[in-house]
Amino acid sequence: MNYESYIINRLNNMNKYTPVIGLEIHVELKTKSKMFCQCDADFFDKKPNSNTCPVCLGMPGALPVPNRTAVEWAIKIGQALGCSINKQSKFDRKHYFYPDLPKAYQISQYDEPLAEHGQVILTPSPRGKNPVINKRMDPSVTPQDDKSKIFRITRVHLEEDTGKLTHTGKDTLVDFNRSGVPLVEIVTEPDFDNSVDVKIFLEELHTIIRYLDVSDANMEEGSMRLEPNISLRKTLNPKSEIRNNIKIPNNKQKFELPNYKVEVKNINSFNFAKRAIEYEIKRQAKILDKGETPAQETRGYDDKKGVTFSQRSKEEAQDYRYFPEPDIPPMVFSDEEIESIRKTLPELPHEKLARFMKEYRLKYADAFILTRNIQTALYFESICADTALEQIEVPDKSTSSQQLVANVMVNKRIPTRLPQEEFLQKLIKLYKPVEVDEEKLTQVIDHVIAQHPTQVAQYKGGKMGLIGFFIGQVMKEMKGKADPKTVRKKIHESLDI
């Protein structure tokens, strides 16, 4: 087989299967109390089983009372993800036996979740060299553009966390400090077809949730957990099939969903997520190539070895025997209540990014970085609004002072942890117009010109670029105490006679 056909063959194989990936994300809310009792929801670093009560321990006769803030925050997350909020919602009991589940059921939501049918749109930036950032939101590109992708959010619901098991050599220990902490579960449709999009989506989701200030959403610490469901389907037409395009979203395309899916657990970072998915895609492709179907199962991810491994078979779907939680009356929300929660939403990351680009004329990359953290964004705007900014002189006339501030922050030329006043002081120092001793400058320019007759002759002969040389020499003599623009002007005046 010659090289070309090898490439074509490889390309064909790569496109033979299209990954079908859906995500299940759990976000731990940082409410003051747990979901159904008044225990502290902050269980970090506490002595085992010291942060418990009869309710979260599943003692006889204990009853759950829902945490109102948790409900509101779950609705907030739903709204931030574009979901519609159900005016009637309820809790259900989800039954299974495990030592970390004290009641032998988890109070969760089944068929009437708080929020449903949302979406997150990611649009690739037309410019930019970084391929990751290439797939970011660019408001100059309207969502009608061919390359935008919609990732549909199936539902957002509320439930309680379980205790934690620790396996020692011969025993298993249970700590119920975490039992009952509020968890928001976000489920997406299987709209992802590659690992990079998943990573980008997770990062965007993390940013959104941090903006809402409802969770730390930290995968390494366990306040955000991911379980992707991964399978492969046959690509209908590798050359022309449009994958999850905004014009023809997944739910309007006609392809056969695979008859199996593999759930992967124990993914502790965005990078792990990308790697685990890539490994799974390869592993499943190999099995499908053999004409077999990958087993429907749950697999763990081992990043050290770079593999997923089988944990338990999911051949028979667990029967959770869901029924409505009789201890908690159904929740009914008025339009006013739902609206009043929506009003507390901050400007969302993609909205802020678009506004920064428009209002401050920032380039995409800078606006993106500044909006990853709401505190940074607020800091930026606060600096820009500060009248002290008028004192600086931007070296390049085509740059505004706000653009300069952005640049300085993005490149970390001044630490952004400083109080605003200090930051501005440092900024002014960097860019204040320098007081020039006009007389001295004239002297130095004359002196430099006199010192370098060869270069003067070359310059006059046509080598205009040598102006830089002269400027450098003058600046050296002036020990930087001159404004390069002024120096350039004056040298021109002296030489261009």
Binding site: P54, L57, G58, M59, P60, G61, A62, L63, P64, V65, P66, R93, H95, F97, P99, P102, K103, A104, Y105, V174, D319, R321, Y322, F323, P326, D327, I328, P329
Partner: protein, 463 residues
């Protein structure tokens, strides 16, 4: 001062007037309870005040009460009459017993019950059945049989039971005492070992209507630890007893069928008395009570199967091998009705019929103030007879299930004896949160008949 036969209300007055001391009252009932418990087995745990208990606040604070053993009492063993909880001592207090404590009442003992409240005869208890004080070869009814027997034999002046469907009314009628099931949500369930979460109602069992009104007034009210408890204001039940009210009372013809001859006799006689007293009696029609049996069985057992899951022996108590036969039966059936593929046919369907039962009662209460009927079709059965019936509990409670399923309040009061000399009960059902009128009518009947001296005769067997 002779204490025998005094009601809670009377004893309170005597203590207040310093004619009796709290210590005297306590020792009186503690002695009687200890004396007769061997014979009746009404208590699982009896408190001994002469020894220092684990509760540092043990002292002589007030009038003793018998509390059913499914109420978690801090520092005092709580078993729900099941060996699974044989050594379980709660570190927390149920809202009901906390409220009683705060009002100065004292826990004398935890009474025997059907294990996990699964039954209508107290025979499924892992600590042996309680005997009916009227005839010790018979069952006291259940599941609050221990409390009913203790009150009937005057081992305590009153007590607290719980009802999921009939568990207060039926033993009250078989033991010849007053038993009130409040509206679901009227009294907090926090700390009550859950059986049927959407049915369980704690309620008073007493020797007089005034005592029932007194206790209800204490235990009723919104509880921040029970999301299903109602914010409705608690009326002054005691005060409202004395209002001269005239009621329209409905008698459902479907409830007057298939009764023991003497039950039918006593109940109809009582209804005649009500009419003579000036109330209007009206024949009404309710859904055949036997329909409630399947609805209630499915919903209750589904909830039971869910509520018993936590007893794995890891955090407290013994493991599942300690469950009795009846508990196992109910867990299996409940799990089945919730399982994939069967949920719609059983659980969901039962919920729909529940709505029909609710609407049926609402319809009748549009025409009448209260409903009168027998609480049970028969008087106390002999111990062991329940084995004839696979759904014994639910079958015994057929006349109680409508109010249980709908969540409406109801009372059972004594209305005479049958030819065997066993107590017959009379039931009044009311609309949601209408305990005040149920108690009012019951009080009028008590004033008029003194319950035909049934309560007096009962305790006199244990002088």
């Amino acid at each position: 001062m002779d204490i025998f036969g005094k009601s809670i209300t009377q004893l309170r007055e005597l203590i207040k007037d310093k004619k009796l001391s709290k210590q005297e009252v306590w020792e009186y009932f503690a002695k009687r309870s200890t004396k007769y418990n061997k014979k009746l087995n009404a208590y699982v745990t009896l408190l001994d005040k002469t020894q220092k208990g684990s509760d540092p606040y043990l002292g002589f604070s007030g009038i003793p009460l018998a509390i059913k053993d499914n109420f978690c009492t801090k520092g005092v063993r709580t078993t729900a009459s099941s060996k699974v909880l044989d050594d379980f001592v709660p570190s927390y207090e149920s809202t009901v017993t906390a409220k009683l404590k705060a009002e100065g009442y004292e826990l004398l003992g935890k009474t025997n019950m059907d294990a996990w409240a699964h039954g209508s005869s107290t025979e499924t208890s892992d600590y042996g059945p309680t005997k009916n004080p009227w005839d010790i070869v018979r069952a006291p009814g259940g599941s609050s049989g221990g409390t009913a027997a203790a009150v009937s034999a005057y081992l305590v002046p009153g007590g607290i039971g719980s009802e999921t469907a009939g568990s207060i009314r039926q033993p009250a009628s078989w033991c010849g005492v007053v038993g009130l099931k409040p509206t679901y949500g009227r009294v907090s369930r926090y700390g009550v070992i859950a059986m049927g979460s959407s049915f369980d109602c704690p309620g008073p069992m007493t020797t007089t209507i005034e005592d029932a009104a007194l206790l209800l007034g204490i235990i009723a009210g919104k509880d921040q630890y029970d999301a299903t408890s109602t914010s409705n204001e608690v009326p002054n039940y005691r005060k409202l007893l004395h209002e001269k009210k005239v009621f329209t009372i409905g008698v459902p013809k479907e409830y007057m069928k298939n009764l023991e001859k003497d039950v039918y006799k006593r109940v109809t006689e009582s209804i005649d008395i009500l009419q003579k007293m000036g109330h209007t009696i009206k024949e009404v029609s309710l859904l055949n009570p036997s329909y409630s049996i399947s609805v209630y069985t499915i919903l209750q057992r589904a909830e039971v199967s869910s509520n018993l899951g936590r007893y794995d022996g890891i955090r407290y108590g013994n493991n599942r091998s300690f469950f009795g036969q009846e508990a196992k039966r109910r867990i299996m059936l409940g799990t089945y009705t919730l399982s994939h593929g069967y949920y719609d046919a059983f659980y969901k369907k039962a919920q729909k019929i529940k709505t029909l039962i609710i609407n049926d009662l609402k319809r009748v209460f549009a025409d009448v103030d209260l409903i009168a009927a027998p609480p049970t079709p028969m008087t106390a059965l002999k111990l062991g007879e329940f084995e004839k019936y696979p759904f014994f509990g639910e079958t015994m409670d057929v006349l109680n299930e409508a109010a249980a399923v709908a969540g409406t309040p109801a009372i059972s009061i004594p209305c005479g004896l049958d030819s065997k000399g066993l107590p017959v009960g009379l039931q009044f059902m009311g609309n949601y949160f209408d305990e005040e009128n149920i108690l009012n009518l019951s009080y009028q009947f008590e004033q008029e008949t003194n319950f035909f001296d049934v309560i007096k005769l009962g305790r006199e067997k244990y002088i």
